[in-house]
């Protein structure tokens, strides 16, 4: 799994690529927690490069969503791959996240 972060004035975008399972979910959690510690609470996760997303990875997304909502921010999803989108829907978690077809729309939504 790889992550890449782009910081805008009001929003921070993290692109996630590769496989997010129990082996790599901790790494994603650490990367997201660092953004929260730096005071970034308006987050967009670009999931276009996600090839595999298990419930371990989904747990990290939900934990982060809770944390940012507590501080008045939000975690929104952008251009999720079919595989990521299927995993989120199968877990019944699609109702928790605002999702956008493209990254620009997700950034502009804040």
């Amino acid at each position: 799994m790889e992550t890449q972060t782009q910081v805008y004035q009001r929003v921070t975008v993290m692109s996630v690529k590769g496989r997010v399972d129990s082996t790599s979910a901790g790494e994603l959690e650490t990367a997201l927690k660092k953004l929260l510690d730096d005071g970034k609470s308006n987050l967009v996760l670009d999931l276009s490069g996600v090839e595999f997303l298990s419930s371990s990875g989904l747990r990290v997304l939900v934990t982060t969503l809770k944390a940012v909502r507590k501080t008045g921010g939000d975690l929104r999803l952008a251009q999720s791959s079919q595989r990521a989108s299927d995993a989120i829907g199968l877990a019944g978690l699609d109702v928790l996240f605002k999702s956008y077809g493209d990254r620009e729309a997700a950034v502009a939504s804040f």
Partner: protein, 155 residues
């Protein structure tokens, strides 16, 4: 000059079986290799990419559950066997963790942010992906059989 043999239609594809063993140590293991071969096995049954990937996801969720909740911090072994037949994939997952019947575990499919753990999502995914799930406790073994015989078209 040889003549290329055309691919056999799905009905003529032979049944084949692939088996992988995973060693779990200190509550962790690399899942690569034990789950991803399931996707190839599903393709061999004639399923499309989306369905084949969903099968991999279901098996991965079952294996992650055994590692995290079954063996916990203990050492153990998990054996995954995939059998591909035309239009049907059967995966058998065998472990020696304490008895756990995932077919009887109650799951609330609704999700709210108030749920502290958002637990049970893996089992929900398995139930939504696979067409048949059966569990058997034989001696000290948990035997979970997951069957797919219809295409996956979305949650």
């Amino acid at each position: 000059m040889g003549t290329a043999k055309p691919p056999s239609p799905p009905s003529e594809r032979p049944t084949r079986q692939v088996r992988r063993r995973l060693k779990v140590r200190n509550g962790g293991a690399s899942l690569t290799g034990v789950c991803d071969f399931v996707e190839a096995a599903a393709s061999a049954s004639g399923f499309d990419d989306r369905t084949s990937h969903a099968c991999q996801l279901a098996v991965c969720e079952a294996v992650e559950n055994i590692i995290q909740h079954g063996y916990q911090a203990d050492e153990g072994e998990i054996q995954v066997t995939a059998q591909s037949a035309p239009g049907a994939l059967t995966v058998e997952i065998v472990d020696r963790a304490p008895a756990f019947d995932p077919t009887r575990y109650p799951i609330d499919p609704s999700a709210t942010l108030r749920d502290a753990r958002i637990g049970g999502r893996g089992l929900l995914m398995i139930r939504r992906i696979m067409d048949d799930i059966s569990y058997e406790r034989r001696g000290r073994q948990n035997i979970l059989r997951l069957t797919k015989n219809r295409s996956f078209t979305g949650a």
